[in-house]
Structure formats: structure tokens, C-alpha cells
Point group: C2
Chain length 381, copies 2
């Protein structure tokens, strides 16, 4: 195990009815909140109204901003910054999934800066701090409610990069499975895929012996499998709760702790796809991640055989069982309605070389070999 530092001060309030805590929790950090959300969230279960009522009851004034898109754009961050400054906002309530929470993190530090915000994503500058954030998750998968990750798309540059500043931890994550019951099966499956992808990135990339972390990663993966029936039984609160908690543990830092300098290669490649096309992040991962795993497995199958055995009970020679484990994972994704090939997502074949080039020059990950990435993309086209 490598040396590491782990610090995660987000307070999690979990359970049916937890949404009622949004007012009191927000009041701990500010007097005037930006409620950041999507247009659609207002229609579901009166969630938006409940948040507003809870804030009002706690004596917190609020202004609203709708229309955060999936794969949130830098333009939206600038809009949020302007609104916060104009209205004197001192706390942000992010009501949504990863897109909204990530966007809130970017707005939170944008208000402390009047320059080019993309500098923070390309690593040119570091913001001095951020407004406090209360995250109310309405869909699980990204784990953004309990981490510092903030992924934003620069729509003019076709770039989708991330920041990870310590002040981006939400002060409180409110995870109320009742809010998740109207998430449609496709998006639910995207979240399940994203969760599994999060634990498997460094699991296969790391060179360290990390048995405890591996058990956690395998446990997250198997927990998602064991609760997949949510796709047929979307109002089942127990299944929703289990998936939500698994998605948080997948990316709150514990799984990666001690694994060393592994990268999120499949994420880096996928982000170049969803930066350009109307592709849900989880759906892109369902295609790219198994293809990337196959590439790694052909070079070094031992860990893949270990995974196949632990998670699917597959035994046999290393290469054979490693590849069988990847096939079993692809079968899971396909069974959930995820796409199996890039062509199913309307990615033009002639763009693969552009995507490969963008991935290897991205500040997101390790230096990848462009030809390898191109071949991986081709293999799942």
C-alpha cells in the first residue's frame, strides 16, 4: 500500500425524509442561498417546493437558478457566478445529481475570482476558496455529494476537465432515497455503471497490494449487482438506498486511498466523448470501460482473473478467466439497457482519432499512448 492522506469532512444525512434537513443545515452556513437545480427537478415529487419551504422555515432567503444541463457547461458557471454576486448569496444548495453538484462547486469558487475560470481546470491557477455547499442528491452514481470532484465542459473548446479542491467538499450531503424513485431506468443504469467504473479504475491500474481497498471495490460492485432489480422496481426504497450508499462509498476517497498514482483512464477517454456528443457519462463508460479493461487485461491478466473470481466466481487460466470476467461485466451493462458500442451513441467513426488525441493531451490523466487509445475506441466502435 502506498502512503496516502485521507480527509473527508462532509456530513452525510441519509434516509427517507432526510430532505427536511436542508433548511437547518443551510442555515448553519449562510443567510441567503442559491438554489441550483435543473428544470425537470421542479416537476418531480414537489422536491423543489419542499426545499424552498424548508429553507424559508429555517429563515434562509433564497434565489433560484434552473437549467443546469447534464455535462454542465462553463457558461452556466459564469451565469451562476453573476447571479451569486448580484444577489449577495453566501451558501449554495445544489439540488440534483452529479451535474448540478459539480456545477455548484464551480460556482462556489467562481465567486471568489473575476478572471478566466477555465484556468482552474487547466491547472493554471488555484482559487482561494469557495462558498459552502449543501448537496441534496436526486440521483445516485457520481458520488459528487461526498467528494471534491467538479467536472465541467468548456463547450467552445470541446474540453471536459475536472477540479478537486479541498474546499469543494459539500458541508452536508443530504441523501434521501425517496427523491430517487422517479429517476427513469436508463439514468438509474447510467448511475450504476458510473459507480462500478469509479471503483474499477484504480483497481486495475494500481500496482500496489491493497487487499482492504480491493474488498471495498468488489463489495461496491457486487452490491450494485445485487440491487439491479431497481430497474424493474424503481419505487423500491431499500434498493434505491443501497445503490445510493454504494455510489457514495465508491468515490469518497476510501477506494483510492493507498492505491498510488493510478489514473481514471476510462473516465478520461469517456469525458472526451461526452464533451462532444449528447451522451450520458454512465452510458459512455459502459462502452469505453470494458474496452479499456480488455486492453489492460491482454497486457497483464492476473488482476482481471482475480476480479472475475471474486465478483463472478469465474475460475480458470488468468487470461481466459480475466477476459471472461470482462465479458460478464459487459453482459451486466447490456442487461441494464446500456449501449454496447460507440456507434449506438451516434459517435461518428471519423472522430475517433480526434477523441484519442484529445484524451492523450487532456490534463485529466496519465500520458496515454494515442495509438492504443485509438485502437481501444475502434475495438468498441
Amino acid at each position: 500500500m502506498n502512503s496516502f492522506e485521507y480527509y473527508n469532512p462532509t456530513r452525510v444525512i441519509f434516509g427517507a425524509g432526510a430532505i427536511g434537513n436542508v433548511g437547518p443545515q443551510t442555515a448553519l452556513w449562510g443567510k441567503k442561498a442559491l438554489v441550483l437545480t435543473t428544470r425537470s427537478v421542479t416537476k418531480r415529487l414537489g422536491i423543489f417546493d419542499r426545499v424552498k419551504a424548508s429553507l424559508e422555515k429555517a429563515g434562509v432567503e433564497s434565489v433560484d437558478m434552473f437549467g443546469v444541463d447534464p455535462n454542465p457547461r462553463l457558461t452556466t458557471v459564469y451565469e451562476g457566478r453573476a447571479l451569486c454576486l448580484k444577489q449577495g448569496v453566501d451558501v449554495i444548495v445544489a439540488l440534483g445529481g452529479g451535474s448540478v453538484i459539480d456545477c455548484a462547486k464551480a460556482i462556489a469558487y467562481a465567486v471568489f475570482d473575476d478572471g478566466d475560470l477555465w484556468d482552474f481546470f487547466t491547472g493554471k491557477r488555484v482559487p482561494p476558496g469557495g462558498l459552502p455547499i449543501i448537496a441534496v442528491s436526486t440521483i445516485s452514481g457520481t458520488g459528487s455529494e461526498m467528494n471534491t470532484n467538479c467536472v465541467i465542459t468548456h463547450e467552445h473548446l470541446d474540453q471536459k476537465y475536472s477540479t478537486h479542491f479541498v474546499f469543494s467538499y459539500p458541508k452536508t450531503a443530504i441523501i434521501d432515497p425517496e427523491l430517487h424513485v422517479t429517476v427513469p431506468p436508463y439514468l438509474t443504469a447510467c448511475g450504476m455503471t458510473d459507480t462500478i467504473s469509479h471503483v474499477l479504475e484504480k483497481y486495475f491500474d494500481g500496482t500496489q497490494q491493497t487487499p482492504m481497498q480491493d474488498r471495498l471495490a468488489e463489495g461496491v460492485t457486487m452490491t450494485v449487482f445485487e440491487n439491479e432489480n431497481v430497474l424493474c422496481d424503481p419505487h423500491n426504497m431499500a434498493l434505491r438506498a443501497n445503490l445510493s450508499w454504494a455510489s457514495v462509498l465508491a468515490l469518497n476517497g476510501l477506494n483510492d486511498a493507498g492505491r498510488g498514482s493510478g489514473y481514471y483512464d476510462a473516465h478520461t477517454i469517456e469525458m472526451e466523448i461526452s464533451a462532444r456528443y449528447d451522451v450520458a457519462h454512465g452510458a459512455g463508460l459502459a462502452v469505453v470501460h470494458p474496452a479499456w479493461m480488455t486492453y489492460l487485461c491482454r497486457k497483464n491478466p492476473e488482476k482481471f482473473a482475480h476480479f472475475a473470481n471474486r465478483v463472478f466466481g469465474i475460475t480458470g487460466g488468468a487470461m481466459e478467466s480475466g477476459l471472461a470476467g470482462i465479458a460478464a461485466l459487459k453482459e451486466k451493462f447490456a442487461g441494464w439497457g446500456m449501449p454496447a458500442r460507440l456507434r449506438d451513441m451516434n459517435v461518428p467513426k471519423e472522430d475517433l482519432s480526434v477523441i484519442a488525441h484529445a484524451a492523450v493531451t487532456s490534463p485529466e490523466g496519465e500520458p496515454l499512448n494515442e495509438e492504443d487509445v485509438y485502437n481501444v475506441l475502434l475495438s468498441c466502435y
Copy 2:
């Protein structure tokens, strides 16, 4: 899964050489530190000298207090309080295992009170806060470096109770496996047993479906098993590191989150033993916990069969495989040199009824049935 709140702001600095962070981390919180430790720690690897040097280099003045015993006593807490007040200490460095860190937590809030400190353990009063604590672990098992638990023995009352105040989280936990290499096999095994006991208490007591938490508990248990060779290879840093991290994840709140109001029954019973006799906590658990599990299994074997299957690969009828799993666990403990019966620990048989009575009247746990507890104790006598 039940509703829950999870909050754990302790910063973990983990890895060989991490001890060098003690000065800088302490300097973040105070100017004059109490270095609390045992007598023996000073002899091992020059750990004490390294801590003092690191503090001095960081500009932190320090006063020392040696002689914290295993099963730390209330008298020691009073001594620590007096020393802190006399010297104007504003931060505590706990250099040791669970006993030292727990004792530091009690001293930390004792300085804010001039009354009967036992009131905090019996639930009569709540302290207003505590001094910041930097925990430097020299032995793993209790997980005290990343939780609020503080177990103290009132030596005149034969009571061993605990507190769990949110301000008792150490600010920083420094976990340096190099400091663990001289821990003798017996105490190492005690820590391994304690770790497993922590994850299994609510695992079997809870009535909720908690698949993610169960995977974590099983993962901790199997990780301890997989690294048991440390008992023959004590200087193996990788094994030490894996065991340390497993012990932290066992009791930092994640395993219990959502399990509902289960209690630590085996711990409650064991604490009545180590409060009275010279018994290491982990050794007491090696005897009491399997006996308690057997009692529960005979009433409701399903979860025990599940455990036996997941952890030991045992299959068969519920009662048969549940009991076989417990037998396999006892075999592990015995293989590590842990005692198998109370008589091996010089507990007088005529005291069993006193222990049983004390356990059922303890503020630590749920109302247990005194006759049941007595019979459990008798079964492992």
C-alpha cells in the same frame, strides 16, 4: 437500511514515515502540547524522541506524561487534567494504541470541567468541548485514531464505560506502520481480534438489510485473515499497513451506518471482564464474542449461515453452517494464540454472576437478559 448521519472529519496521514507529520499537524492546533504515552513506548524505536523532535522543530512546546496503562483508569485522566491545567496545554498528542488515545480524549474534555468526570460516562452530564487531539497510533485494533470512542475504567467502582462526543474525533490520525513492527505477536493478535469483533457486533445484531455495510464487514474480516502472517513476520510493513487500515475502517462509523440501533453486546460483556481482571480487551473478546454469537445463532441462524458462506465458503443448512462458521472463527483466534476460555484468563468461576449482573446494568448497551449472559459466560468458561 435505517436512516443515519455520518460525519468523520479526522484527517488520516498514513504510511511509512508519516510520524514526521506530528510536529506540523500539532502546530496547526496549538502552541503547547501534552505528549501522552505509555512507559514502554519510549523504549521502542526511539518513537518518543522522534515525536519530541518533530514538535520542537515545528515550534511546539511540550510536556510529557507517561504511564497510561492498558484499560486506562479514571485516576490517570484526573492526573492528565491537572497537568494540562498547570502547564497551560492547548493540544494533546496521543502516542500509543487505543488506551492512550482514549485516555487523551477523556483528558481533552476533562480540562473544561472541574466536577466528577465519571458523570460523563454514566450519562449524567455532557462536557462543553475538548482540546484538539493529534493521535499517533503505535498499535492497531481499536480504531480509536479515527473515531470518538473513549473507554475508561473507574477502578474503584469496577466499571468500564465509554463516551462518544463529536469533539473527540482526533484532528489528525497519524498511522505509520513502521511504528507497529515491534508490537509483540500476542498484542498484535489482540488487535486483529478486536478489529473483527468491531465489524461483527452489529452485523449480527442488526435487523436491517445492509448489503453494502455487510460487504465492508466481511471485507475487513477477510483482510485480517489474509494478513495474519504478520504474527510470523512482524516486520513486514505491507501486512502491518493492511491490518492498520482494516482496523480503522472497522470502527470509523461506516460499518455501523444504517444498521439501526444494534448494540455492541460482546464488547459490553467483555468490558465487565477487563474492568476487573488483568485481561487484554482483544483476548477477552476472542472468548466472549464467539460464545455470544453462538447464543444468537441458536435463536436465528440465517445471518450466521450467510457469514459462514461469505467468509469461509461454508455451505449447508442454516444452523449447521452458521455454527460451523463460528467454529471456524474460533479456530482462527486460537491459531493466533488467543485464549479460548475464561478459565485460561484467571477469571474466577464464582465471579460469573457478578459479571453478568454488571453487564446487564451497564449504560453501554441494550437491556440484556441476565440469565442469558450468565449462561453465555458459563458456556465459554
